[in-house]
Symmetry: C3
Subunit: 395 residues, 3 copies
């Protein structure tokens, strides 16, 4: 029996020293939604707390409790998903005992989850078979719905960096569902019950059909973050504190997002990232790796303005302006005056600035104002008026 924190730590060390043991990259306990027609189909996994490269003590307790409860614990695989049993919960609670009194607010969130779970009747009713413990031991191709959700949580909670995770296989793992609010419904179940539901006026209000849920169904944003319409941010996106997402033409896909205070009125496609202080204007499009970007994920620098209805298919540096309505693709030919070459060269001493450049040549170039000359239609680059945090190393 564990009564003190010292005993707890000793227990954890003892578990971690066992040959079968392996620290997970990420883990957590989830409530799952099952198919209405095929209950073995997991439609969604909701994690109250996610652990990502942290809290290895709790991981050890969870894995040990699973083993004690008789679950098949194979840490040599890339993922592990186990049912939560009463025995597992009891074992965890016994080990966590010294932390239970102080598990409140921001303290010991995994212990809070277990305490809460211990108060629910797990073996019957709505809760039966609806809780899972999920581990990712290796950042490999996604296999289970539960691991897919754990990775999306890691991204959306900001615990894993955008573009840092292997998301291959995620479209294959997730099921396409009809959603009524945050609840997924199997399309087949809906089809089978369409007549009865419609005649009895009980047909659910379907708010979307997709494999991914929405960001706000799983994540609570920072106090100064605003998302004016939930459909505008897919789960798996990452929004730094202070980001505002407007409801016009905005959209932030999974594995895309912002790194600081950013105003988003346009599209940030999957794999695109926007730096702090930047502004994605109304209807502006930052292209994803699958369309018009030559396969290179697009990064937008800090304090850069993408004008309304502009389009970016290549990286843009810090302190830049892309005029409203202007499109810069990797192959776009951009003309610079002698004066522009000099002014841009001055603040980008390590880059080669020339009178005719392609969109892709501006990778890492700061302080550029991209415009279309309205007299002759030429796409030109000038020195922008936006402030740039100069890199001290260069001066």
């Amino acid at each position: 029996m564990i009564f003190t924190k010292e005993e707890f730590k000793a227990k954890v060390e003892e578990i971690q020293s066992q040959s079968w043991y392996r620290n997970p990259i990420g883990f957590g306990l989830a409530r799952v939604d099952r198919g209405q027609k095929n209950p073995e189909k997991i439609l969604q996994a909701t994690f109250p707390v996610v652990n990502w490269e942290e809290n290895y003590g709790s991981a050890a307790v969870f894995l040990n409790a699973l083993k004690e409860a008789g679950a098949a614990v194979d840490t040599t695989k890339t993922e592990l998903v186990c049912e939560v049993s009463d025995a597992f919960v009891e074992s965890c609670i016994e080990t966590f005992r010294p932390y239970i009194p102080e598990a409140k607010g921001e303290e010991h969130k995994n212990v809070q989850v277990l305490s809460q779970l211990a108060s629910l009747p797990l073996s019957s009713g709505l809760n039966a078979d609806n809780f899972k413990v999920v581990f990712i031991f290796e950042d490999a191709v996604v296999e289970s719905v539960e691991a897919a959700y754990l990775k999306l949580y890691a991204l959306s909670s900001g615990k894993a960096k955008l573009r840092s995770l292997n998301l291959n296989g995620i479209f294959g793992a997730l099921h396409n569902c009809a959603w009524t609010g945050s609840t997924p419904i199997e399309l087949d179940w809906l089809r089978e019950n369409e007549i009865a539901l419609k005649l009895s006026n009980k047909y659910p209000e379907i708010t979307m059909v997709d494999k991914f849920p929405r960001f706000l169904s799983h994540v609570i944003p920072a106090d100064n973050t605003r998302i004016l319409e939930t459909s505008k941010v897919r789960f798996g996106a990452q929004l730094a504190a202070g980001t505002t997402v407007m409801p016009g033409a905005a959209y932030i896909n999974f594995n895309a997002g912002t790194e600081g205070v950013v105003m988003v009125e346009g599209r940030i496609s999957s794999s695109a990232v926007v730096g702090a202080g930047s502004d994605v204007g109304g209807g502006a499009s930052i292209l994803g790796v699958l369309s018009g970007t030559d396969g290179v994920p697009v990064s937008i620098g800090e304090n850069t303005l993408l004008g309304a209805n502009s389009c970016t298919g290549t990286a843009i540096g810090d302190g830049c302006i892309l005029d409203a309505g202007v499109t810069i693709l990797p192959g776009t030919k951009i003309t610079l005056s002698e004066k522009a070459v000099a002014a841009i060269q001055e603040i980008n001493p390590d880059k080669e600035i020339k009178p005719l450049m392609r969109g892709m040549d501006f990778l890492g170039v700061n302080g550029v104002h991209f415009r279309q000359n309205s007299v002759n239609g030429q796409i030109i680059a000038m020195r922008s008026t936006r402030e740039i945090k100069l890199n001290a190393d260069l001066h």
Copy 2:
């Protein structure tokens, strides 16, 4: 009394041979939502099953049952809408008897509707006067709300081809309502009850104000179709299996849609149709007949890419690319190099390809890449790199 399928068929033939009888183009049984203030106003009609140029045996049973139940059945009009009575239901059930045991899953859906209906108490409570049988005998100007919905169902279920139906009169037939989810509310009722509802904290959550409902309130899409936000597809749109509608700037209006696997991140205006394998980029606009198209509905061919924030006011062929940010209207002058003329002519032997063409001249021309030259602002056409399924007849 009908006991066998042979007797059923004989009965149907007997009905169909009567002088008053006429096969409907479409028919179905609907649950209706009535005005909260003016119950005679039909706000919405929900069909669990629609029949369009099919199932004439069920039509005969329905029409005969209405006559037997004493309803005024006039098949010389373009539409017929009758209340569902207990007598009607009983008569249908008696005639459908041999099919009732096998009416499950995809089999005999009209019989399923009647069986289900027979189990509901029709004469009182929530169901009273809320069911209608609806027939369209001629594709004329829309007169009733019920017939309007039946036509929209025919389009959205894919049973009628886009642009094939007469939808004149539909805006006059439908009532503008406030909607809370899938439930329509009379605006006048809301006004009359605003004070009481607001003070008692029972004011409904209004999700939209429109004459048309949303596609997902009535139609279950195919397993591989995705609609990431319900407001993005109006009822009356048609989405081929595999279509994805993103939540940024996308919108598909009624009588518009897709003919195959299509990615939709832009606007498909009413009357516009997009071919299989094509991609409507983020914020791309396909104009409708009422704005900038010279009144000709726009068709986009197969395997064609409309770039982000592009705009199309005229037909585009197969295997084309419209660059991000480029606008092609019917009158847009487009310049082709000698090489481009030759390359495009080669794959379009029956078209006249010239060094200077208008947007409208590209009707039926395949394999074109529309760009704006970023050095001189000229709108140009080149041979695209997209694959075209060549028409064997032309080679």
Copy 3:
């Protein structure tokens, strides 16, 4: 005691003649939503009726009743917010007595509010401390949430002109909340209860995170107005009867809107106003004072067409056309042919029309068609074909 309308009027005059009394610019009675964690935080104020420069008799009754009920009534401040007590309600009802029988439908809405309130148990349960009387005596910087809502109501109900109110301080006054439909939730409360809510499957469906509610949560639009998706119109926007807001890329921010029948498929930024008969095409952007407009709020004239994906950063007159995809910023150089100068001059006799003008020079110029020449990329202006209601004074 007040028994007749004459006595009522005498009473009002008597109140108004007292030295402490001051007519408010606006006033009303609101139900408030309080913080789930911090009940002293007002998250939202819902007014069944707003008064703006009108109904001073009711204002006098309200202020007098507050004084009689012992509230601190200081009319020298810019705003006054008081709790509604039983004593206040009783006093109002006594004074309003002669109007109570006829307070129905459109008549005596303030009296209706009081009657309704008198029927609710105010001192306990859900209603306790949830009603406020709110006055604005001076159009100064916004201080309270309640006054912020009253101003937004004045704008959205059409009682105050767009841009006419001082909205400074409104972002500071309003709290950023998670919203489930029309109900605001404190983000902190959500954080504190995340584990329990998620494990018990009671986590609320969050539809947005913002400081402002949506227009349709507070305002009932005219019968011929359509808003196809509630997120597209922020509270504080103003929509003239007959306005249609489509769900693609449209958005109307607070303190922005329309002055007549307008089709809105694009963005109307805060402070922008669109005239009757105009059309904001799919994805068109009308810039706000904070981005690309030189700080001057943009007005779009009457019967003007902004094409799909166009962008406007400066005022556009009546009967103009901005072609799809064209951007006009204040500094955009626009070229006019000799013929165009003459034709535009003819209908704008008091303006200076020249062969080369800037976007900002077109302020108040009517009948202009802005295009990009597709052969040479030049932005040009021609005489448009749209009808202009000519100003009789000029001819």
